[in-house]
């Protein structure tokens, strides 16, 4: 029973970790994913309360996050500002937009099939986790079997060399932030369905958890190294950890403390394992 719970709870973090690892592979970082989750939750919930229908609400949520993803991406790639600063800006903008749009209140809507998405299981596996797994497979294909995949590593490793080969570096860099934004919207929609309401602070802390998952999963902070599959796995592991701490009676603030500790310890372990298994030539 608890395993199902862990998979359900890790879905949002797992997909955010996938997006974050792509961004980090290009030697970037996306701090805005957490507040994008909140904003998408508010936009989707707000529209679910209107007469436009569920699909329109979902679509608008995805569009909103994609817009901010492209916005960050274009500024980072064209104006060449540091990703940390740009996405910090987007993070604050989207976080406050979420609060402004809902007026600081939790949004509810008349119950419909959107609420049941998070409650359904497919052969015992939560539907949400199935959706995330599909994204996982697509990302693995993207990374290993498309030219975009090699360019993601190339941008992180030697952007100028890639540009001199005639690759449209700016376009691909923007696409990576777009993907990260898209994934944030998927996470936001899944969470909204799970809690059956639109919450302006639901995404708080998710950017930190996603970065932690990617880092523990071995994605290098200077880009070009690592495999998103491990980020995905460590997202599930982090959820397991918080879940375990919860069962042991620790409250949410203590769980954050635990993630912080595991981040530092995990990085330390990574370093040791790298020395043992892969001696640098």
């Amino acid at each position: 029973m608890n395993l199902k719970n862990i998979l359900l709870h890790s879905s949002a973090l797992a997909i955010l970790a996938l997006g974050m690892s792509l961004v980090m592979l290009t030697n970037g970082i996306d701090l805005s994913v957490g507040s994008l989750v909140s904003l998408v939750s508010i936009v989707t919930a707000g529209l679910l309360g209107s007469k436009f229908g569920v699909l329109f609400a979902i679509f608008s949520g995805i569009l909103t996050a994609s817009f901010f993803g492209i916005f960050s991406g274009i500024i980072i790639s064209r104006i060449k500002l540091p990703p940390f600063i740009v996405t910090l800006g987007t993070m604050v903008i989207t976080a406050s937009l979420a609060l402004v749009l809902c007026g600081g209140e939790t949004l509810y809507w008349e119950k419909n099939w959107f609420n049941t998405i998070a409650l359904k299981y497919f052969f015992g596996v939560p539907i949400l986790f199935c959706i995330v797994s599909i994204f996982f497979i697509l990302i693995m294909l993207l990374i290993h079997y498309t030219s975009f995949g090699s360019y993601i590593y190339g941008i992180g490793s030697n952007e100028e060399a890639l540009r001199l080969c005639g690759v449209k570096v700016k376009l691909y860099k923007t696409l990576v932030y777009l993907l990260s934004g898209c994934f944030a919207s998927v996470a936001g929609i899944m969470l909204t369905s799970r809690i059956a309401s639109g919450n302006p602070i639901i995404g708080m802390g998710y950017e930190f958890e996603a970065i932690a998952a990617a880092a523990i999963g071995g994605i290098s902070f200077i880009g070009g190294k690592g495999n998103p599959a491990f980020a995905f796995l460590s997202a599930v592991t982090i959820t397991m950890l918080t879940n375990g701490l919860g069962l042991m009676g620790f409250t949410t603030p203590w769980q954050y403390c635990g993630i912080g500790a595991i981040l530092v310890f995990g990085m330390f372990l990574n370093r040791i394992l790298a020395k043992v298994s892969l001696p640098e030539r």
């Binding site: 498309t146 090699s150 590593y153 992180g156 490793s157 890639l162 005639g166 030539r281």
Partner: protein, 256 residues
């Protein structure tokens, strides 16, 4: 043939901040010719070549390719004209394997389900192995990451990529800098075979011995300006050194 020259540069100037890197530099390259560009450090050789390849943009001056004036603003422009450059330090991507690096920017992919372009990894691998074999280059594993190769191996891979995609003009920036004697000879032989394929080559080198063994014409730059342009057969190393240094030293003093 279109135009008298394959490539003609007229009055190229470039400043980096307050530093004048190139001032009114001209260059002419015949069809099917090997031209050596020599000069001291900071003479502007690499800058000039990067302008031709579109890595940087000139402040003023014209580029005429096959008799037509062209504007080269980004690397894609020069690549589509048929100009391929091998950069000294910015050639390869460390975290990708040899095969990926050889096909960087020109991956072979196939449409699957009508939408997704999926890489044909096997075909790229086979072509890479074939190509390296033709050039007589031995690599253990085509999937080895470039990061793990030695300096000389990396350079050979970078040159072989340039050669693989060579079309009308290739530019080699210090092709023999990190290479041993045997490998240098291999590269010089390679340059000679390229000439037989009707390709023009510009080679930048500090090594005058190598310049004299392959080039037909030598162009000297000094402090960002033209300092001489001579046919190799009519000149000796001493004179080239004098042109490079501005005759501050005699060649005998430098060459020992």
């Amino acid at each position: 043939m279109k135009g008298n020259f394959l490539l003609e540069l007229k009055g190229i100037s470039k400043k980096f901040g307050g530093v004048t890197a190139l001032q009114n530099v001209d260059l002419k390259l015949n069809y099917n010719e090997i031209l050596a560009v020599v000069g001291d450090n900071g003479a502007g050789k690499s800058t000039l070549m990067k302008i031709i390849s579109g890595a940087i943009l000139q402040d003023s001056g014209k580029i005429i390719f096959e008799g037509k004036e062209v504007s080269i603003k980004k690397p894609q422009d020069s690549l589509s004209l048929g100009i391929q450059m091998c950069y000294q330090d910015l050639a390869l991507i460390d975290c990708l394997n040899i095969s990926n690096n050889l096909f960087l920017g020109r991956e072979i992919s196939e449409k699957i389900l009508g939408v997704a372009d999926i890489l044909n990894i096997k075909k790229m691998r086979d072509l890479s192995i074939q190509h390296l074999k033709n050039l007589g280059i031995v690599v253990g594993n085509i999937y080895e990451k470039v990061r793990n190769l030695s300096g000389g191996q990396r350079q050979i891979i970078a040159i072989s990529r340039t050669v693989y995609w060579s079309n009308k003009l290739i530019i080699l920036d210090e092709p023999t800098a990190a290479l041993g004697v045997k490998e240098s000879k291999k590269v010089l032989d390679l340059i000679k075979t390229l000439k037989e394929k009707d390709i023009s080559i510009i080679i930048i080198s500090h090594n005058l011995q190598h310049v004299f063994s392959v080039a037909e014409r030598v162009m000297v730059l000094r402090m960002g300006q033209n300092a001489g342009d001579r046919v190799i057969k009519e000149i000796d190393g001493d004179e080239v050194v004098k042109m490079i240094t501005g005759a501050e030293f005699s060649g005998q003093e430098l060459l020992g």
